[in-house]
């Protein structure tokens, strides 16, 4: 009985440790460009993989929006277009930037109006099953980055 309890406690600790140290990714410069009405918004962030293995961002979840999609904008041959991507690789010990005009999360169908200055929690999902909650700063439409 006692042994089983110790085993159980051991498993719990292991589980917690895994949840804590699971993602070797750090996020910075996270922001959302808020557009008027209920128009879709772009979310941007810089991701650094501190781990020795490559990782890929596969999507995101947020309670603030109905849908969050991983997208890439391109302007080749004078034409701007946007496509959905399934996975965005982040090299080992490397950085991947989601920035206007390139990779971004497209947020659709805001549950409540989002105003500049608000912090929106978005949980990033990776291909190894791990997740990373990140607070994104809501910024006005004419913003070009997370700061003025």
């Amino acid at each position: 009985m006692k042994r089983r309890a110790i085993l159980l406690a051991g498993l719990l600790v292991a589980g917690l440790a895994h949840a804590d140290a699971g993602v070797p990714v750090t996020a910075s410069h996270a922001w959302i460009r808020v557009l008027p009405g209920n128009l879709p918004a772009g979310a941007y962030v810089v991701l650094h993989n501190d781990g020795a293995k490559p990782l890929a961002l596969t999507g995101a979840d947020t309670a603030a929006y109905g849908e969050a999609m991983l997208h890439e904008s391109s302007s080749t041959g004078g034409v701007s277009r946007m496509r959905t991507i399934d996975a965005l690789p982040i090299p080992a010990h490397g950085t991947r930037t989601l920035a206007p005009g390139g990779y971004h999360l497209m947020l659709m169908d805001a549950k409540h109006p989002v105003h500049p200055g608000a912090k929106i929690r978005i949980t990033l999902k990776f291909d190894d099953g791990s997740t990373l909650p990140v607070d994104f700063l809501a910024r006005p439409a004419s913003a070009l980055s997370d700061k003025d």
Binding site: H71, S75, S142
Partner: protein, 203 residues
């Protein structure tokens, strides 16, 4: 041996006359622009559309202003706002002269972009921006006039769609003549430089 002298002088005078004539005709080309010149390659500004106040407007309403023409749509979450945000910075750098410039944001998604929707949208960027929409035919005619093709592409659920569209920003002088072409990746300083040339030259 005196013979060739005369034709040579005549030739010289003829060449000189040609130079002067050309300079006269290409008076427009004299400005030292930094961006791609489109004088003579793109037609004068011409359209009849509805502005974001619901008023019917034509290109004539913007004569006297330097015009930046850009095609986009409000449901575009990334490139269109980025372009308009860049143009806002450009307008700020022009200072008081920005009052003589208009950014015409023409919707390539007239189904969703009503004048009201456009009004709220353009106000979020720069106050010198005008949202323009109209019938599918009128929009198509204008995009064809400037070889700015667009196409609707379905995406995701709920019948949502994206619109692929030209990334060009067409710059017209105060008389509605097409002069230079800018893109979302053009350095802001270059666009500011060329706009100042057009604003100062008065030509």
């Amino acid at each position: 041996m005196k013979h060739p002298r005369v034709p040579r002088l005549a030739l010289f005078l003829w060449a000189l006359a040609c130079c002067l004539l050309l300079a006269g005709c290409q008076h427009h080309e004299a400005l030292p622009f930094k961006l791609t010149r489109i004088s003579g390659h793109m037609p004068d500004l011409q359209f009849r559309l509805t502005d974001d106040n619901g008023k019917t407007v034509t290109a004539d309403d913007y004569r006297g202003k330097v015009v930046l023409l850009y095609f986009g749509y409000t449901h575009c979450p990334d490139v269109c706002p980025l372009t308009l945000a860049h143009l806002h910075v450009v307008m700020q750098q022009l200072g008081k002269q920005a009052d003589d410039v208009r950014i015409l944001f023409v919707s390539v998604d007239p189904t969703r972009d009503t004048p009201q929707a456009l009004h709220e949208y353009v106000r979020a960027f720069d106050k010198h921006t005008v949202g323009l929409t109209g019938s599918a035919g009128a929009i198509e005619a204008l995009t064809k006039r400037y070889r700015a093709a667009f196409s609707r592409e379905p995406s995701g659920k709920d019948g949502n769609y994206e619109v692929s569209h030209s990334s060009a920003i067409y710059v017209f002088d105060r008389d509605g003549h097409a002069r230079v072409l800018s893109t979302p990746i053009t350095p802001q300083a270059d666009l500011v430089h060329d706009l100042k040339l057009l604003l100062d030259s008065g030509d």
